[in-house]
Structures are given as C-alpha cells and as structure tokens.
C-alpha cells in the first residue's frame, strides 16, 4: 500500500514491527542502530497477526519480523512486503517444561508421552498460536495428539502457557526454548527434535512503499553479525 506521506517524516526512527517473542533480541539490535547504522530505531511488539494486519492497513513500519511464515506470506501476497527482502533470521526449538518443583526425568519420547498424558498440558493455542501449532504437529508425528488433545490447555500465547506451568496449574507444557529461559520456576525436561515438525523460523522482511531513510542499513544489521549475536543471546538458533 502506498503511503504518500512517509517521506515527510525524515527525522523519524526506523520502525521495526516484531513478534513479541523476539523482543529481547530485537531490542539488542535496536540498541546498536545509532552506532552501527547511523540511524535511530524503535521496536513495536505485538502478536505477529496483529502486526501483520496493521502493516496491511498502513502502519508506519519499515521492517517486519514475524514469528512464523504464515503472516509473512500473508503480507507478501498482499504486496506489503518487498518480496526479495525476506530472509529467515532465526530459528527456535520446542521444549517440554515442568514446574521446577515437580520435574520428572525424561529420556525418551515414550517417557515424554506418558508424562504428558498424566496431567494437563499447557500449549499455545494450536488454533492460531505458532508454538501451539508446532507442538500439535510434533505430537501428531509422535502419534500422541489424539490421545493428548483432551488434556491440552490451549492458551492465547506462549507466555501464558509458560505462566500456567510456572504456577503449577499444569505440570507439563510445550513452549519455545527461548520462552523456557524466561522463567526460573520452570525447567526444561526434554528438547523436542526439529524432525517432528516443520522448522520454526523467524522471517524478516522490508515493508513495501516509501520508507524511512536508513532502513536498508538496519535490515543489513539484522542480517549481519549484530543480529546473529543478539538472537543467539536470546536463546534462538541462528542459521547461515
């Protein structure tokens, strides 16, 4: 969508619309912007779906970092993202977590599934939360989804799932590795292999139309070492 007035706001910072789960890493990159890219940056964090809709409706974003492919595809198809600017800048991993006080010992998929079946399992809502979608996919691959579906607590976002486990409302949960880091009350009891689900990727793209000067430099910053370090520090895996 054309935004004729965008160029008028030359002094404005480069604005990065990023999935809330990437906030820590994106903040780190933004901190480096003035020095490394010669511009100021600001981060706007919300659910990928919210941000995508806003961009489609003319939000003043220069860069979009999504927590999944679907919303990036949605924007690309509607012409709001410069197609060749897209690049995956980080990966994530699913982990099974338990309250620190009740952490079991799990060494195989079989023990994992038995444990999951014993109580409620907190997930992001498989209907729409990416982490939940991946988790459901993984459990399906493990041929346990039908069995576990009834025990699933589908929560509005991963952080909510984390909180439910941290509070002991559920004794098991499946979240991103990055999220598991956040809370001291939970402990990772099992890392789910990538092979059980589609890769968990964080694509970045440049918003189409007139944009804030310096946007390209910031895009480069994310793609470069600064970005890689920031995401790795936040617990993501960084590909190259």
């Amino acid at each position: 969508t054309m935004l004729p007035d965008r160029a008028l706001h030359a002094a404005e910072p480069v604005t990065i619309f990023a999935a809330a789960s990437t906030q820590q890493a994106v903040d780190a990159v933004i901190g480096a912007c003035p020095e490394k890219a010669g511009v100021t940056c600001r981060g706007v964090y919300a659910a990928s779906s919210t941000l995508a809709r806003q961009i489609k409706n003319g939000a003043p974003a220069d860069i979009f970092i999504s927590a999944n492919l679907i919303w990036m595809d949605y924007l690309t198809e509607s012409g709001a993202i410069v197609p060749n600017s897209r690049q995956v800048i980080a990966h994530n991993q699913l982990v099974a977590i338990a309250p620190r006080a009740r952490a079991p010992k799990i060494d195989s998929v079989a023990t994992l599934l038995d444990w999951l079946a014993a109580d409620r399992v907190a997930l992001g809502d498989p209907a729409h939360v990416p982490a939940g979608i991946y988790a459901a996919e993984a459990l399906t691959s493990m041929q346990a989804w039908d069995r576990l579906q009834g025990r699933v607590l589908a929560l509005p976002n991963v952080r909510a799932a984390l909180a439910v486990v941290a509070r002991g409302e559920a004794f098991a949960g499946i979240v991103y590795a990055t999220d598991a880091q956040v809370s001291d009350d939970v402990i990772v009891v099992y890392k789910i292999l990538d092979s059980y689900h589609a890769p968990i990727v964080y694509p970045m793209g440049q918003v189409a139309g007139p944009h804030t000067p310096g946007t390209e430099d910031v895009v480069a910053l994310f793609k470069g070492l600064v970005g890689q370090h920031a995401f790795r520090d936040a617990g993501f895996q960084v590909s190259k």
């Binding site: 589908a154 929560l155 409302e169």
Partner: protein
Amino acid sequence: MSPLEIEALLLSVQVALTAIGVSLPLAIFVAWLLARKTFPGKSVLDGIVHLPLILPPVVVGYVLLVTLGRNGTIGRWLFETFDITLAFTWKGAAVAAAVMAFPLMVRAIRLSLEAVDVGLEDAARTLGASPVRVFATVTLPLASPGVLSGAVLGFARALGEFGATITFVSNIPGETRTLPIALYTLTQIPGGEDGAFRLVLISIGVAFAALLVSEIMARRLKVRLGT
C-alpha cells in the same frame, strides 16, 4: 449456524448469565455499602471494586489464575472443601466474567441507590420496618431501574469478556470457548475473517436480544414504579 457456533453461543450465554446471577447480590450489597455507609477503608473498597476495570484483563486473568487456580490459596481451599475447580472450567469463565463486570454493576446500582429519597426510607422506618426490610421493600424497588441497568451492562460485559477469561480458563472447546474467544481465535489466522464476521453477527444478535428484553423489563418496571 454451525454446531461449533451454536456451542460457543450457548456457552457464552450460560457463562454470562451465571456470572451476573451469582455476582448481582454481592454487587447490590457493595453498592449499598458505598452509597449509604461510611466506614474506614471505604475508599479502598471502592478502589478494589474498580481494579478489574483499570488493569488489563490479562493481568486480572493472571491474578485469578494465581489465586483461584488449583495451586492458588483460594483455589486449593475451594477444591479441597467443596470439590470445586474453577481454573480451565466454564465456572471459571463465569468467575472471570463476573469479576470484569462487577465494577460496572456496582456503579450503576450505587448511582440508583444514591438517588433514592431518604425521606421515603424514613417514612418506612416510622411505619415499623427494620433497616433490612426498608432496603428490601423501599430502597431496592426504587433503585430497581439501576439494578436492571447494571445487570444489563454487566451481562453485555460478561458476554464480551475475553482477556481475563482466556488467561484464566484457556480456550477449551465446549468448556471455555465462548463467543469472544472463538472470535479471537479466528482473527489470529489469515483468512479467518469470514468466520469471524459470522461470529460478530451472532454476538450482535445476542446483545440485541438481551437489550430488547431489558428494555421491556425496564418499561414494565416504570409502569410498576408508577412514573
């Protein structure tokens, strides 16, 4: 309507009615305290009543989870004493809706209670009615437009409650997936707009029906109040 839509609709109505039905007496009591009594801590009570309005619903939901969840102090007590589980059940959804609707109900009822002529209450007392009876036979009937108004407001709010509900009781189909939660879910996936739009229409339909009923009741009340 699809079976899923009907399920969500019925659940929503059940949750909202339960929420209002259970919390209305308490709302009336608190409104009366605030309208007619002075006591230490009154403004603290007033503040607490308003909290669900001021805090983001997700925070309220989180607080509910912490206190009423199965590991929460109250939640555990409820479970051990009455075998009641609130977290992740429709009853919990009703609690969340009730909490969010509570300040609205209290405000409306309080306003009406404050408008009741104290002279009429005095008259009732000289006729031998105890304060409780005065309240039941004079104050409350005269404030009934406000009670109705508060109940309608609360019902609407309960119907629309989303943030606290999803945080406290999750999004369990048939148990806690109310209309707004179903609606929200649909907005989170690309192409969900059509389904979402249908749910919006259903929500609006429920709301209009509720308002219509309340207006009819209000008109009856007016006749009964002789105004």
